[in-house]
């Protein structure tokens, strides 16, 4: 069923809920837990499809049906933006889901701490959005993904119940780690309203080495050499493409006393690399963080797999995209992910996209890699997801969704591979 946006917005406003309109989208911005529950009640009664969100910056890549207007209501948590508990001595932060990532970063910086990951587009990302997206920054090479540093969460389930898991402690094994399940669930299980994070000490020093490479193969080889020599950088990024030269960036952090030796070891591997220090190094770190959103647009594809075989996946990809004059790659070799910008791909019809990507997927399986569509039409997502429906792991995920959201209010046809007919309300 489709509710005209103006009707929905007016109705919500009468309940005191702030509503925004963006094109065909109605975005409700509740100010309290009570309002969220009221919204969910209404959605349940009217059979509305709801997508929890923050500022929609990640949604645009991860849940295309939202941008295509194929949902009834976006539930934005942006008005729930209180820091609940920041304990510098314990290195933990608990905040409401609508807090802006960069604001939280400023809050903890004064105490010599950092958020656990360099989240891309931090000023356009909420805490809840960061968690729901499952994204992490390039610094995950050293620090691990964001989901490892979520200590606990409070959520509202589709029937309006509030439930918490974990806590605010850096070590805790009481109960299931449901907050890990919610992290990366893209709002398809529940509404995340509050979360606790582990913080990291701000490193004394940051510096970087950056170096042009003859081709992708050289860049990947150097990255592997660094790894073999047990250089332990904060991040390693490779970028390049059909028209862009290939570059390798290595960011190193640490105590003042140890950095020279780390730099020396990295330089031995990298040879003639440009050394960047001070404010410039911080700027580079920030730029690399946002590389996955090149020119304001998300990559079309993401490939991921075993770190030792990233170069193989890349070689496969290069052969496959050879015809695209604009293709470009941002790779994090140590953590084995490749963001692929292939604008020409977007010009194909959905059917062609699905056929093409299924072919690519088949080729990549040999190197143990997985292909995930990002900034492509919802129908392409759906087409590629349908293929996975038989996988027992998908069955588990669907069962979880069904049990958490029996009425299918948070339904997303393409994620995580739900069979299209299930829970659809229109």
């Amino acid at each position: 069923m489709t509710v005209p946006p103006e009707v929905l917005g007016d109705a919500l406003s009468r309940d005191g809920i702030e509503t925004l309109r963006e094109g065909r989208l109605v975005i409700a911005c509740p100010r309290s837990e009570r309002q969220i529950k009221a919204l969910l009640t209404r959605a349940g009664r009217d059979g509305l499809r709801v997508v929890p969100a923050g500022l929609l910056s990640k949604i645009s890549g991860l849940r295309p049906e939202v941008m295509e207007g194929d949902v009834d209501l976006v539930l934005s948590l942006r008005n729930l933006s209180k820091v609940i508990d920041f304990v510098p001595g314990d290195g933990t932060l608990t905040a409401q889901a609508g807090c802006i990532w960069s604001d939280l970063g400023r809050t903890v910086r004064e105490s010599g701490l950092q958020l656990p990951t360099d989240m891309p587009l931090p000023s356009r990302t909420t805490l809840g959005g960061a968690l729901a997206s499952g994204m992490s920054g390039p610094d995950r090479l050293r620090r691990g993904p964001l989901r490892h540093h979520v200590l606990g969460a409070h959520v509202i389930l589709s029937d309006g119940t509030r439930a918490k898991s974990g806590g605010r402690l850096v070590k805790n094994v009481t109960g299931f780690d449901l907050h890990r399940l919610y992290t990366g669930s893209r709002g398809t299980l529940c509404v995340l309203i509050e979360a606790s994070l582990r913080l990291f000490p701000t490193p004394e020093e940051t510096c970087a080495l950056t170096r042009p490479c003859a081709d992708a193969a050289e860049a990947f080889q150097l990255a592997e050499d660094l790894r073999r020599r047990h250089v332990d950088p904060l991040s390693v990024t490779i970028e390049g493409g059909a028209r862009d030269p290939w570059r390798l960036h290595v960011v190193l952090v640490g105590r003042q006393v140890e950095l020279p030796s780390a730099l020396a070891r990295a330089s031995e591997v990298l040879g003639d690399a440009e050394r960047i220090e001070g404010a410039d190094a911080h700027n580079l770190r920030a730029e690399l963080r946002d590389r996955v959103c090149h020119g304001g647009a998300w990559a079309q594809l993401r490939l991921s797999g075993p770190p030792a075989r990233t170069h193989l996946a890349h070689a496969m990809l290069a052969r496959f995209l050879g015809n695209d004059p604009l293709w470009r790659v941002v790779a994090q070799p140590g953590v084995a992910s490749l963001e692929v910008f292939a604008p020409t791909l977007a010009a194909h019809t959905v059917a062609d996209q699905i056929a093409l990507l299924n072919d690519l997927r088949a080729t990549l399986t040999d190197s143990g890699h997985r292909l995930e569509p990002i900034a492509l039409p919802g129908a392409t997502h759906l087409g590629l997801a349908a293929d996975l429906a038989g996988d027992p792991a998908r069955r588990w995920m669907r069962n979880l969704q069904r049990r958490y959201d029996p009425l299918g209010r948070f339904t997303c046809p393409s994620y995580p591979g739900r069979a299209p007919t299930l829970g659809a309300t229109s």
Binding site: D90, A163, S165, G167, T174, R370, W396, L400
Partner: protein, 477 residues
């Protein structure tokens, strides 16, 4: 007694994969929490994923409950058998399937012993970081089930941060292959959910684990303190100053005494009221700088003496004392109640003191040995199970310590898990709707509730067990 499914199982695992006689089964009646006992109907020991899946299909057909078991070193009764159920042991699944030195990963069967992996990774200059005290015997599958910790988890994180992939068999014998996960999960983070789920979603048969490079330099520091308070304060301050050693452990007087009388005698000074065991690892320069900072900090807090172990033999000795500490308590009294609470690291001293007072008020002997850097306390109460009144006082003290922790923002368990031991205490920390969310996950993945039933989630509703607090009510329906 003839089990209707026995011969079907024998056809799958053979005689060597079954323990059927009463004496044999009796040896499985408890894990390391020996207060809880239940004789299993049968013990099955499959050799690999295929056998486990076939066994679980048969058990599914007959509706038999399944309790997964690794080495049975768990301290919370997570592997205690259930009445009418089968214990499914991974003890014969001990192959290391692959070590990838470049990717720094290891693929192992669930029954591989934790320390064995570190031993086998050493030639590649790698090690497996989580190091629970039972690492010489506990299995990696068991570590996954309990999200096990250990001293070095202060720097490297508990098990969950080291699991990259796994194969899990569900209650009906279906194989869920999560072994080719990239840096991010494909869909939901099922691995994050399964790690620490105490065997309640399925049997993990294979795990892909992250290995960590052996650091260039390692230094272990033993700082001797005139009081437990000053040792605790030193740790709180080290965290606040954001110093980053790889492990921060505290042992108190009574523990030191027990360790020094055991086979693990480490040369801890007997006259110390508390010692702080610190380890720094990294590049030589980093280790030197961090170690200097820590030494200074200890001295500021009135530490009496500092010893530094640089060579491997010395370091191993200092750590052997720490790892053998629980067992060494056997020398104080026949039985030991190992509490495993977590405190915010800013309140270490306060909570350790409260725990000590609670025990002393009840005439109980308490010793402390714990992962101070993570706020994970282990007040250990020595007792004799044949003294019924003492047992009552121990349990009362245990409960009060947990409550005191929770009131101050702490938690029930930091690494041992909930199992049977802390099941009822879950209600102190979670309310009915929190537990209901956990039940939903369980019902989604094991609708018949046959995997390790009756563990972790309280069976009775929490409202029956405590005075309800006003709870926000969901207003639909």
């Amino acid at each position: 007694m003839a089990l209707p499914y026995l011969e079907e199982l024998r056809a799958i695992v053979g005689d060597a994969g079954l323990v059927t006689d009463r004496a044999g089964r009796l040896a499985y009646e408890s894990d390391a929490l020996s207060l809880e006992k239940q004789l299993p109907e049968l013990v099955v020991l499959p050799l690999d994923t295929a056998q486990a899946s076939a066994v679980m299909r048969v058990l599914s057909k007959h509706g038999v409950p399944i309790v997964p078991r690794g080495a049975g070193t768990g301290l919370a009764g997570g592997a205690t058998p259930v009445a009418g159920g089968v214990s499914l042991s991974t003890a014969r699944m001990r192959e290391i399937l692959e070590i990838d030195p470049v990717g720094r990963t290891a693929r192992v069967q669930a029954g591989v012993v934790n320390a064995e992996l570190t031993r086998r990774a050493a030639p590649h200059d790698l090690f497996y970081a989580p190091d629970p005290s039972s690492q010489a015997a506990c299995t990696l599958g068991g570590n996954v089930a309990n999200n096990s910790g250990g001293p070095h988890c202060f720097k490297h994180g508990a098990t969950t941060r080291h699991v990259l992939g796994m194969i899990v068999v569900d209650a009906d014998g279906e194989v869920i292959d999560l072994s080719h996960q990239g840096p991010d999960p494909d869909g939901f983070d099922l691995i994050g959910l399964i790690v620490g789920s105490e065997g309640m979603f399925g049997l993990v048969t294979e795990v892909t684990l992250k290995l960590v490079p052996i650091p260039d330099a390692t230094e272990t520091i033993l700082a001797v303190f005139p009081s437990l308070d000053s040792a605790c304060d030193t740790v709180t301050e080290a965290i606040a100053r954001r110093l980053e050693p790889s492990a921060i452990e505290i042992l108190d007087e009574l523990t030191i005494d027990a360790v020094e009388r055991s086979v693990f005698a480490a040369g801890y000074p007997r006259e110390a009221k508390a010692v702080l065991l610190l380890e720094c690892e990294g590049s030589a320069a980093e280790v030197e700088a961090t170690s200097a900072d820590l030494t200074e900090l200890c001295q500021e807090h009135g530490c009496l003496e500092i010893r530094t172990a640089r060579d491997d033999a010395d370091r191993r000795r200092l750590w052997a004392g720490r790892k053998g500490a629980f067992g060494a308590m056997g020398r104080i009294a026949p039985d030991l109640y190992v509490a495993d609470v977590v405190a915010p690291r800013t309140r270490l001293r306060e909570i350790v003191r409260i725990a000590t007072d609670i025990c002393h008020e009840r005439g109980l002997k308490v010793s402390n040995v714990f992962h101070a850097g993570d706020g994970n306390l282990h007040p250990n109460i020595s007792y004799d199970r044949r003294d019924t009144d003492e047992v009552r006082r121990v349990l009362e003290a245990g409960e009060l310590i947990m409550r005191a922790c929770i009131e101050r923002g702490g938690s029930l368990t930091g690494e041992h898990g909930v199992g049977l031991e802390k099941q009822e205490h879950m209600c102190h920390l979670f309310d009915e709707s929190d537990l209901d969310a956990m039940r939903r996950a369980r019902e989604a993945l094991d609708p018949d509730l046959r995997m390790n039933p009756g563990k972790m989630i309280p069976i009775r509703g929490c409202r029956e067990m405590r005075t309800p607090e006003p709870m926000p009510q969901g207003d639909d329906r």
